[in-house]
């Protein structure tokens, strides 16, 4: 997150990559939910920036509006325009499954971004973040730190994103599972709404409910700005906090090490850049040059990495 | 029909220095209606100028043009020697014209004082000066003879009569040279009217002109100096002397015909039959107590009483719209506990406030007329609008609804014609017992005579009628039996033939029969 949009994108500049040579012209249809949130905003800007790197790619943005139904409409319109390939970050994988199938049946390959379609017939390539893995990573980090400190029955807080989203559920499940390994559990969990204000409000409530706390995981660095503000406002510092997604602001804070935020687990919007690159290859029938296979594989899952003060410099360029 | 012949008196003839307001050929057109179609009017300083006309003649429209609410489409208005065309109500008020409108124009959730000074509040840098406002309101109220109304009280909690006083207080709060009163007496009781007249006389003594609109000819004779008569938006007679012009002439100018009688001639007592409505010991605490009465088929029972004596509440309770604390209501032997049961049993009620209690103003006339009976026209839930219209048209014709036709929205009808629609609703429904609460309020002389005839005809056909009216002559002239209510108690009952107006008035006010009268 930054106030200057130009710093905000992660692109592969393709230096020294054979696949980068211009090929036949590719029209990529792109659809992602309306962005009022940094991460989704970064997804769209990354896609645009990556497409800008190729002289042979034309990106057709059809933003999906406020809900799954609107996105279905947008996809229907997009299909009618017959792009070579569609990259879609669905509102909800299950709800948009039918739309994926419809596109595939119309002969347009679909690259599913982030939120999986249940049916394999609905996509050609799936690039997923690992929500469950994110929870696992956060839980493992917190567990290890607390164990190292010798805290026996720690008070652990959790601030989730929008609770009705499945990805939120997956993150929380991963978190609980990883903590269970250490015999720890979550003392209080508040759901926010992926906005800074939501994060601030939820954190204020959580801090009030837990007068003493040892560790806190916040699912999303964007709402984390609000969470950190709430912690400052409550003048609390007896615990440490782990973030989620890996925003630029979060990485900066971790590097400076002047706040309770000590680590964040990644869920990078750079996947949109990768999706555009791979969509182009699929449309042109090319494979990934490091793989032996002639075509792009069917599924790619990003790993969720843990950024701490020690490795922050390395990840700085991936911050959004 | 031909246009009315120009009368010599239609030519304004006041001496110039006396005349403060002059209207010449004023025209106001609403979509589909020429509400004003060449009005002449001339008002002198210090006089009470009465406007007479049937419902829908254009009286209210005329005063709204004066008040800056409507803008005349043609014609000239001269106010104190200058051409006058107020663009807004505020402009008219600044020019010294204050208006008491026909419909109550108060804000329920403001206090009496705030209502009186609404729009020109005494204030300092935008802050209301509450003490000043209250004391000035108190002065005006005292002048109006109603010092008991607290300026701080919310208007919502006042009875209708007190609201009318507040409307008057608002008019007096302006430094007005002309006060226009549109049927101010319609919601006032007998003694209140006398009070109103006292105030009007005070005003005119100070040289303030008053335009006074009323359907009650006796009032006009009492207070008025000169009369201008409107018919269908035109002046048919101007500047008639209020006291001496014969009633026949006034009515003739208004209606274009002569009305031979006001009340239908007396009739024989209805046959003794088992009562249709039996009310026993009905009580609602704070409103009325221990009321028992009966109404037989074909009988008209009138209830006299002052405003605030609890008659409306009694009617609404009989109708099932309010739950009694004690007592029973039986219609043809069956208890009535809800409005639906009452309507199903053949009871109908024309409530006191037709606009808020009876009408769907934006719906066509016929849908208003069949509001209580459309289910009867319907077949398996599907409405029969054709049948409803035909039936409504017949009823409208029998009530002489003006303008004719049942498709226009009720909102565009004048007050008296709206009342006919409400009565018509129950004529359509095969009603056996009709409860009428102030049925002729705001209804013109001609229509009033028609309504009386309609009520009588209903009774002749065997319908029982329970009539509440603040006009004693109406009760006496129409009813077979008269009940008198005072402060929630039924204090007297006698056949109409055996009681006269003075006796009723005395009962109503003092609660006792005149000395020397047999009980």
């Amino acid at each position: 997150t930054s106030n200057n949009p130009t710093e905000n994108t992660q692109v592969n500049t393709n230096e020294g990559n054979d696949n980068a040579a211009p090929g036949e012209k590719v029209v990529i249809g792109f659809s992602a939910p309306a962005a009022d949130h940094g991460w989704i905003g970064a997804i769209t800007s990354n896609a645009k920036a990556q497409a800008g790197q190729y002289s042979d790619v034309e990106l057709k943005l059809t933003e999906a509006g406020a809900d799954a139904a609107t996105q279905r409409a947008a996809i229907a319109t997009l299909i009618a325009e017959k792009p070579n390939i569609i990259v879609m970050l669905p509102y909800d994988g299950k709800e948009l499954n039918a739309a994926g199938i419809q596109a595939m049946q119309a002969g347009i390959p679909v690259v599913n971004l982030d939120r999986a379609f249940p049916s394999a017939a609905a996509y050609r390539l799936q690039i997923k973040g690992d929500n469950y893995g994110m929870g696992l990573a956060a839980g493992a980090y917190i567990g290890a730190q607390l164990k190292a400190k010798g805290v026996s029955s720690p008070v652990i807080g959790e601030i989730a994103g929008i609770d009705s989203l499945e990805l939120t559920q997956e993150r929380s499940q991963g978190f609980t599972t990883a903590l269970a390994v250490y015999g720890f559990k979550v003392a209080n969990r508040r759901a926010a709404d992926f906005t800074v204000n939501g994060g601030q409000q939820a954190a204020t409530d959580l801090l009030q409910a837990l007068p003493k706390m040892d560790a806190l995981w916040n699912h999303d660095d964007d709402q984390g700005i609000g969470v950190l503000a709430a912690i400052d406002q409550a003048k609390r510092s007896e615990f440490f906090m782990v973030g989620g997604a890996g925003s630029k602001a979060a990485i900066d804070t971790i590097t400076k090490d002047d706040k309770v935020l000590k680590a964040t687990v990644t869920y990078s919007p750079s996947m949109a850049s990768s999706a555009i690159s791979l969509a182009r290859l699929i449309a042109q029938g090319k494979g990934m040059s490091d793989l032996v296979e002639l075509q792009v594989p069917k599924e790619i899952m990003l790993s969720s990495e843990t950024i701490t003060k020690e490795n922050a410099a390395q990840y700085a360029k991936l911050g959004f | 029909m031909t246009a009315p012949e120009p009368e010599e008196s239609a030519v304004p003839q006041g001496t110039e220095d006396q005349v403060v307001l002059r209207l010449h050929d004023v025209v106001k057109i609403f979509p589909g209606v020429r509400a004003l179609d060449g009005v002449q009017l001339e008002v002198r300083a210090g006089e009470v100028h009465c406007l007479l006309g049937q419902n829908g003649a254009g009286k209210s429209t005329l005063i709204k043009v004066l008040a800056g609410v409507h803008h005349a489409d043609a014609g000239e208005i001269t106010w104190r020697g200058e051409p006058f065309a107020p663009g807004t109500p505020q402009a008219a008020m600044r020019a010294g014209i204050a208006t008491i409108y026909q419909e109550l124009d108060l804000v329920d959730d403001l206090s009496v004082a705030e209502n009186a000074f609404l729009g020109h509040e005494p204030s300092l840098f935008g802050f209301t000066r509450r003490r000043v406002t209250a004391s000035r309101t108190r002065e005006i109220l005292a002048r109006l003879g109603h010092a008991e109304i607290s300026p701080r009280r919310l208007v919502r909690s006042l009875p209708a009569a007190a609201k009318q006083v507040v409307s008057m207080a608002r008019a007096l709060s302006h430094d007005a040279r002309l006060i226009v009163m549109d049927e101010p007496s319609a919601v006032l009781a007998h003694d209140e009217v006398a009070n109103l007249f006292r105030i009007i006389r005070e005003l005119t003594a100070q040289g303030i002109a008053v335009i006074y609109i009323s359907h009650r000819l006796d009032e006009i004779r009492d207070i008025g100096d000169r009369v201008t008569v409107l018919k269908d938006g035109r002046t048919t007679a101007a500047n008639l002397p209020a006291r001496t012009t014969p009633t026949r002439e006034l009515v003739g100018k208004m209606t274009g015909r002569s009305i031979e009688y006001v009340f239908p001639p007396g009739r024989d007592a209805p046959p003794e039959e088992d009562p249709l409505l039996v009310v026993e010991n009905l009580t609602r605490s704070g409103e009325f107590a221990d009321v028992s009465l009966t109404v037989r088929p074909g009988e008209i029972v009138g209830i006299a009483g002052l405003v605030g004596s609890g008659r409306s509440e009694l009617l609404e309770t009989i109708f099932g719209a309010r739950r009694p604390d004690a007592g029973t209501v039986k219609l043809a032997g069956k208890p009535v506990r809800s409005v639906e049961a009452a309507v199903r049993g053949g009871m109908g009620m024309a409530p006191e406030e037709r606009k808020s209690q009876a009408l769907l103003l934006d719906e066509p006339i016929f849908k208003n007329m069949t509001l209580a009976s459309f289910t009867k026209f319907a077949k398996v839930g599907f409405t029969d609008t054709g049948g409803e219209r035909a039936a409504s048209e017949r009823t409208a014709k029998s009530l002489e609804l003006r303008p004719p036709g049942v498709i226009r929205p009720v909102r565009t009808l004048s007050g008296g014609n709206q009342q006919k629609v409400v009565v018509g609703r129950w004529l359509l429904g095969g009603t056996r017992l009709l409860l009428l609460d102030e049925p002729t309020r705001g209804v013109d002389v001609g229509a009033r005579a028609e309504l009386y005839q309609v009520i009588r005809d209903l009774a002749e056909r065997g319908v029982g009628v329970l009539l509440v009216s603040s006009e004693v002559p109406e009760v006496l002239g129409l009813a077979d039996r008269v009940l008198v209510m005072r402060e929630g108690h039924m204090i007297h009952e006698s056949p109409a033939a055996e009681i006269d107006e003075d006796t009723v008035l005395n009962l109503v006010m003092a609660g006792s029969l005149l000395e020397g009268e047999p009980a």
Binding site: A34, A35, L61, T62, E63, G65, A66, D67, A68, A69, T70, R72, A73, A74, A76, T77, A80, E81, D92, K94, E95, L96, N97, A98, P118, D163, S164, L165, E166, Q169 | M1, P31, G32, V33, D37, D232, G256, F319, A321, V339, A342, V343, Q357, A358, L359, L360, D362, E363, L371, A372, F374, T375, G381, F382, T383, R402, P403, P404, G405, R408
Partner: protein, 335 residues
């Protein structure tokens, strides 16, 4: 005299009532939107097959929200408001796609969705009519509670519908027209008849126009109020099936903010928010305007933020166009 000043009704030029004029205005807005589409994307509009398909897409998108709007229109005409429609859809959708319900097959699922809709509507109606709660508050509370219950039932997971019959509703076409469009047409037609030709409709207008007058005319206002919310709930149940079929799944967050869309469409279609007046045809046109706007944005690849800015402007323009037509037409009739 009267005959002179007032032309008798038969001789009066057949006057268009305000409702009709508003609808004409909305058709004008629709035409305008299509013209903008043609100007901005002539190459698409030059393909008749695409145009035909595009119309069907617009109609299909309007179908579920259209059904909800019909119910909402009744509630608003009756003097109420229903903020819980989106939540009812979510609850009905989630309930009818639980593993247990799906085991009863398509009929069981449809029955469940409709029953949930009717049931929640009934609770709304009872709270408002007998509990004397303001409709805004009662249905807002229901919004919150029903979404919560939907999340509870679905365990916050998206529930996939494996029922082929249900899923086929969205894909079936009859004479080339999607079944969903027929459903909207049927609901709208039924709504029109109900409002304009039945005692139920008359009572609705009566209680919304003047509740006290309706009560004193012997209409059971409370029962009618309850029925209106039940009707709205029923429409939500139908819409839940339609949306579930379109998404082949249901979820606690589905039909988000449908309440605002439905109310907006009803009002744009000429329904008075204060009750007593409104038309079904207008409401359906209102929905069509909204889905045509969305379609226009999609074919022009507008970014969401630009979309939103333009959409706000179009809504304002649409209402102004209606008003303009109305005034100019009444001007005409004055002469």
């Amino acid at each position: 005299m009267i005959t002179e000043t007032l032309p008798a009704e038969k001789r009066e030029p057949r006057r268009l009532d305000e409702g009709t004029i508003r609808n004409l205005g909305l058709i004008g807005v629709l035409v305008l939107l299509v013209i903008i589409g043609i100007i901005t994307r002539p190459e698409l509009y030059s393909d008749p097959a695409w145009v035909r398909n595009n119309i069907l897409v617009i109609l299909q998108q309007a179908s579920a929200i259209g059904v909800v709007t019909v119910g909402m229109t009744f509630v608003i005409i009756g003097g109420g408001i229903d903020l819980s429609v989106g939540a009812i859809i979510a609850l009905a959708g989630v309930w009818c796609t639980t593993v247990a319900t799906q085991s009863f097959g398509a009929a069981g699922m449809i029955f469940t969705a409709l029953m949930v809709g009717i049931g929640v509507g009934l609770v709304n109606g009872l709270l408002i009519a007998y509990g004397k709660l303001v409709p805004f508050i009662a249905t807002l509370a229901m919004l919150v509670a029903a979404r919560g219950l939907a999340a509870q039932i679905s365990d916050k997971q998206t529930q996939i519908s494996t029922n082929e019959t249900i899923n086929a509703i969205a894909t079936t076409r009859i004479f080339g027209i999607p079944l969903l469009v027929y459903i909207l047409a049927a609901v709208a037609a039924a709504g029109w008849v109900l409002l304009n030709r039945t005692t139920f409709g008359r009572r609705t207008v009566a209680i919304g126009g003047n509740e006290e007058a309706a009560r004193l005319a012997g209409i059971n206002v409370k029962r009618q109020t309850v029925l209106l919310y039940v009707l709205s709930g029923l429409c939500c149940g139908i819409a839940a099936i339609m949306l579930t079929s379109q998404a082949t799944s249901a979820q606690a967050g589905m039909a988000n903010l449908y309440e605002l869309d439905a109310i907006a469409a009803a009002i744009i279609g000429g329904t008075l928010l204060s009750g007593g007046r409104g038309t079904i045809v207008g409401a359906v046109f209102g929905v069509l305007v909204f889905s045509t706007i969305t379609n226009l944005f999609a074919i022009n690849n507008l970014e969401t933020e630009v979309q939103n800015m333009v959409k706000g402007g179009i809504i304002v323009a649409a209402v102004l166009i209606q008003q303009f037509r109305y005034q100019s037409l009444t001007q005409l009739f004055k002469k």
